[in-house]
Symmetry: C2
């Protein structure tokens, strides 16, 4: 290879470095908008962010990229450089897949649909929401068809690929079918077992004291405050960039427990970001592997660690000190592992949560294939909720198919990530325990750091250098295996 | 004019709108860096901001601009469009004046000099600072010479033009020579008069209560919290954008008075920004007129309004309520109008402040012309401080010529704006009083809003639509006249 052809890869590296700088500013703008910006600043900010998005898109679709990528693929590169080139190509294909006017039409329809949905949801106004969703769904189907053509996969596979590169409808079908075969019965068993357990009252706690507690708990989990902060927003998220992770949460003064576990969850996301490979910062290979893997890290913190008795024992004195909360770690454990089927996904416990995802996955597949019309969505929803969780949602749209923002903004293909993440997390726990011993014992022995170090080594520091299946094989000895998730639920809840 | 040539102006409008969006993000990045960002985020942020600055520069020097501006100048435009085109051309010339490698060389030298200065200043290390400043000064002189050539003015005029378009060394010379003829004697008279006055003890106040007080005082001054916020930073500033102004301050728990007046000062800057013409948002004509005019608005708030007895009477109950401060408004007035010659510009009172500027103006002129070598700066400083304020600074570099950041970053030509601003402010007050009556009386009658409305009409809403002399003529009937400043000082202090 000549020095000249060697420069193709370097050209790409520089180009994507530059893109990452603009994405840094985009992340900052998003965070500020959710946490700091006064309402009156919204219009000018919106215009600035749209300009920035347009610029980033123009960089990702720069005419020179196709040729430069093709030539770089001919170069002699290290394995890591090859991985980076693969991710560069993935980003290039994603950005180029959909024509500009379709992107714009979908953005507009999504904005319109979401704005109206905010009111319609409150008013249980399905008749108002339906035409907007129908219009948006047509555009989603158009996008899916175009992506499918380019990727040579099915339309719904093409949507999954945006969030979970390489994941297919067939794999998820096979996994979710298994889950459906045992989960409803497991839920009944757990409910039966928990029926006789006492219920505890949660003492009130001020937002200020919860914020102090949140920071102490983040510190316990090893969050690096030199590279991040904690603030308040209406919808908790983990934003910013790897070198400066911006966590947010909200506080309910009548019930601190969900806010606290929300911080533990977001800290899991943050640890992943803070642990991404420093040598690859600013390059596609240095980014998190996928949305499901991201969720696996937040759920590892929240579910595998956070709701375990070792961790609850560890933080109990902090709850006592800062909130004056007298609940023992056993009682906290009871609160944090109570299983109650309900209408709302985001309020669901660890055991019933997958049912909400199974339902949405089936609905999305059918909506995209055209087997299910938007008009028939409420009936579909009711019958699925009935069979999965024994809940009737007839006529209750706002707590039914109108509850999530995802469809209202035309985002299909994302929901499976939540449950895939829970499964990856359970698999990591199993592998970790076979390698370094019981997580509960480690935590009880003051060695939570060992748990984090395992994740650092096997997940965070890998960035996107490996494809997901290979990452899982190297970390756990096998690709995604939902049996570990089943075993985890049985161990904890039966 | 054909429709086609009409589009030249519209092309420029769109282009500068786009630039303003990126400048919005730049302002956000600066603000966040000073108020929110953890230290560890600095490196990546610095890289992102440098990328953004490069992009903005490339937009302002886009090859199509010269021709498009020339053709737009042939179009039939409204007076306001012509003004906007004039400002577009000004920005274009400013950005194009200096070759890219000189900008880069100066940016690097400035960064190096400033970083070292932060330590050297603490250590009074003139010998360490001198070579860095010499190197930087050579680049400043090179820049000034290039700008002078293009603008067909003297090198120091070319530097003034960056901050104060149209202002010349000759005008400032003439104004400052007058000031020098009466100010030192005035200072002596005031000191003599104040010698017998009592001194009052300032009660301590927590940062939290000062922040609450600050917000109440901002509200009294009409700061619009739907379009801005108040936060904390090491060096107070007024940042953000017109629709979302980000004020910062810092709190000294042992002495609330300077922090409070700092907020009043920055609120003056903020009111100007929030009052800029909405129809011209995002266009050069919609920006503040000049740095001196900006300073005139902060100093109007701080000096003309803030240190007057009417305003102090107005806020006194808030000091009592929030800080438990028992000082009467007469005592506050005494504290806020005490005159004490000192070494440090930023700590100077209203009366001695111009002496610090006179000195720096003389030094800058001589440094740029080459009459004064960097090596001779400390001696120059000492003799000027002696003659202007009777202060000996021999060997005390850190409280002498090393005290300001401006020269350490190669920013010459800015200092005069501070005193020009004080003069504009006094002139506005005089004109306002001849039109709507005494400011003190208006405030005492609960009509501070009338004062602000006058500024809104005559200054803020003008943006950069008028050139400075015309703005002053329309607002006050004459161009800058330093006699009003002299009268203001005599009225208040003698
Ligand atoms: Zn999450
Ligand atoms: Zn100022």
């Amino acid at each position: 290879m000549s020095a000249d052809s060697n420069s193709n890869y370097q050209t790409l590296v520089k180009h994507f470095q530059s893109i990452s700088h603009f994405e840094h500013l985009s992340a900052l703008g998003d965070w500020d908008q959710a946490t700091m910006m006064p309402n009156g600043g919204g219009e000018a900010r919106g215009a600035a962010m749209a300009e920035l998005a347009k610029h980033i898109h123009s960089l990702k679709t720069a005419p020179m990229l196709a040729g430069t990528i093709a030539q770089a693929q001919e170069q002699v590169l290290t394995a890591e450089q090859q991985a980076n080139l693969r991710e560069i190509n993935y980003q290039f294909l994603q950005a180029n897949a959909v024509p500009g006017d379709l992107v714009e039409a979908k953005t507009k329809a999504a904005y319109h649909c979401e704005q109206a949905w905010r009111e319609q949801r409150k008013n249980n106004d399905w008749q108002g929401f339906k035409p907007n969703l129908e219009q948006l769904m047509d555009l989603v189907k158009e996008e899916a068809a175009i992506r499918a053509e380019i990727l040579n996969v099915s339309p719904y596979d093409a949507l999954l690929d945006k969030f979970e590169p390489g994941m297919t409808t067939a794999s998820i079908d096979s996994i979710f079918t298994q889950v459906k075969s045992w989960l409803p019965e497991l839920i009944q068993q757990v409910q039966h077992k928990q029926a006789s357990e006492p219920k505890y009252t949660i003492p009130p706690a001020s937002a200020e004291s919860q914020a102090l507690l949140g920071r102490e708990v983040m510190q316990i989990l090893g969050f690096d405050f030199n590279h991040g902060r904690l603030d308040i927003s209406n919808h908790p998220f983990c934003g910013g960039v790897a070198s400066d992770v911006r966590l947010t949460t909200r506080y309910d003064e009548a019930d601190f427990t969900s806010g606290l576990m929300g911080i533990v969850h977001e800290t899991g996301h943050a640890k992943y970001e803070q642990g991404l490979p420093i040598a690859w910062r600013g390059q596609p290979a240095g980014l998190a592997r996928s949305m499901a893997l991201h969720e696996s890290q937040s759920l590892f913190c929240e579910m595998q660690v956070g709701r375990g008795s070792g961790f609850l024992k560890l933080i109990q004195p902090h709850l006592k000190g800062l909130l004056g909360c007298d609940l023992s770690h056993e009682k906290l454990n009871n609160i944090y592992t109570r299983v109650t089927p309900g209408h709302i996904r985001v309020d669901a416990d660890e055991v019933t949560y997958p049912c909400h995802i199974l339902l949405r996955f089936e609905a999305e597949k059918a909506l995209v294939s055209g087997e299910l019309a938007v008009a028939d969505l409420p009936d579909f929803w009711s019958s699925q909720m009935q069979s999965l969780l024994g809940i009737n949602t007839d006529g209750d749209y706002k707590n039914g198919c109108m509850q999530d923002i995802h469809w209202a903004v035309g985002e299909l293909g994302y929901f499976p990530s939540y449950t895939l993440g829970a499964m990856y997390a359970a698999q990591f726990k199993q592998a970790m325990e076979s390698q370094i011993g019981s997580v509960e014992t480690l935590i009880n022995n003051g060695r939570l750091g060992d748990v984090m170090h395992w994740l650092q080594t096997h997940v965070w520091s890998q960035g996107s250098l490996l494809e997901i299946d290979e990452l899982m094989r190297q970390a756990t000895g096998e690709t995604l295996n939902p049996a570990h998730f089943k075993r985890h639920l049985e161990n904890r809840y039966l």
